[in-house]
Amino acid sequence: MRSTLSGFGQGLVRLGRGRNDVVLLHADMAGSEIVTPFASLFPERTINCGASEQDMVTTAAGLALDGKKPVAVAPSAFLTARSFDQVRTCLAIPDLGAVLVGTHSGLSAGEDGAVHQMNQDVALMRILPGISILVPSDFDSSSAMAMLALEHPGPVYVRLGRDEVPDTGPFDETEMRIGGGRLLVEGDGVTLCACGIMVHEALKAARILSQQGINAEVIDCFCLKPLPSRLILSSLRRTGCCVVAEEHNTIGGLGEAVAALSASENPVPVRSVAVSDRYGQSGTPLELQEYYGLTFREIVGESAQVWSMRRR
């Protein structure tokens, strides 16, 4: 059990060794699992921007304009919402190669409460043309995504959680691409699309569903934009129904993206297991998962619903 935060930190160190154009900027996060490893090896390429997220994003733009590869790290609540104008104006519209890393996203802010539990960040980033969005589900894929994000020519938003998660399993290097997804379990009963911590819930749900005679196909949609459309559509063709699980508001996230894809290419019943357009409260991340209804149980329930609705 390791966090995606530390996985990305490990990936950054590997990249930092290989190329000297990688610059880490952070909003007063010295000591964080993502910052410390890189900062201790490459202090000259680590910049603490203080709690000035807007300035950090414009500074990243300046570095990118001069050919550097800035990686800007801040809690997702502030990086995407407070600095939204800077991200849009200075990175997205000019299509600059910079990596924005949102930490403590979703429920992992736990006890900090509603303000810090950022369940709107994907929506904010998704509406900006040109930004790619990555949401790793485990340590190893998060580490690999550091490379993926760095090598992409345009801006990338990476959403990381603070909590330790199980390993999702080995992945094929060819799956690790912008616009990619991982087919974790094959099945023809129902398609389960998930990202981040919800991948593990989807895997649990798939085990229960198989006991009930429904073979779920599980896709780790780690790239939310561009969506792994082919992988999803070919699955929908086989299963004819879909449940999408994400640690994000129902509005603007993976659920809507998959539903829109299905509606235009292959209409099938699609249900969403997500935060139902509300704010949270303080609690441990696990308690909050129950509170918001983001567990395998909801996925199993919705799967049974769409399975019965599918056309035969």
Partner: protein
Amino acid sequence: MKASQRRELERTALEVRKDIVRMTGVSRAGHLDSSLSVVDILVYLYWKVLKIRPDEPLWPERDRLVFSKDNASPALYAVLARRGFFEREELWNYRRLGAMLQGRPEHARTPGVDAPGGSRGMAIGIAKGLLLSSRMDGNDRRVFCVIGSEELQEGSLWESVLRASILGFEGLTVVVDSSAPPSAPALTPGKGASERKRFETLGWRVMEADGHNFDHLERALSRAHSDPGGIPRVILARTIPGKGVSSAEKGSLEKPGRLLDRNGMEQALRELELASGEMEEGVKP
């Protein structure tokens, strides 16, 4: 500054002003008054200060200029065209669909534009990134920002002002185009003092200059660079909106476009022609 040099700059500035009147007249867009106020600052920087190669806009060793004065892109474009970064013909397509010259500067579209502009208060942050990058590469590039005084109201700008002094930036010079009608100068003692104080409190070196006087600009900018290191500098340049075109200076432009009508445009061009003529007269022995 030698009188001949000054005259040359003044002549250039007049030509730039004519182009601004023409391009805002043709496109019926872009703010004439805030474009005219910043002309002399840009002319001085582009002809006397910046290390640039117009025929090689992406020359890696060049100094950078981040321009974020809102509504004043005609001034930047007219200067870049006259400095030789692109054909002057492009000016007449300003703001048209598909044009090289967008309403707000875009570095990927326009040779000579170093950074994206268009949203207030972001220039100093971008400049910081450009300087950090050159520091890492071990070169001594300088970065200049030209911003409008209205940007001093943006909170995000002050984040960057503070961070720039914490990082101890040498080689960063910000010129604030502090324009206000002559009747209400932007830098009245009270207000100017508070602008000065705000920058000084945050660790900046502050200079003031008449933004239409090339000797003043020379003094301020050369002092900015002879200063011993580690301190970012700001020049508060007093300017007059609409400078050079009397109807614009009087603030009688048609709002909200702040434009001249056809007659007004012809009159403004005549006025600027007359000024050029008088200058030539003055040169004769």
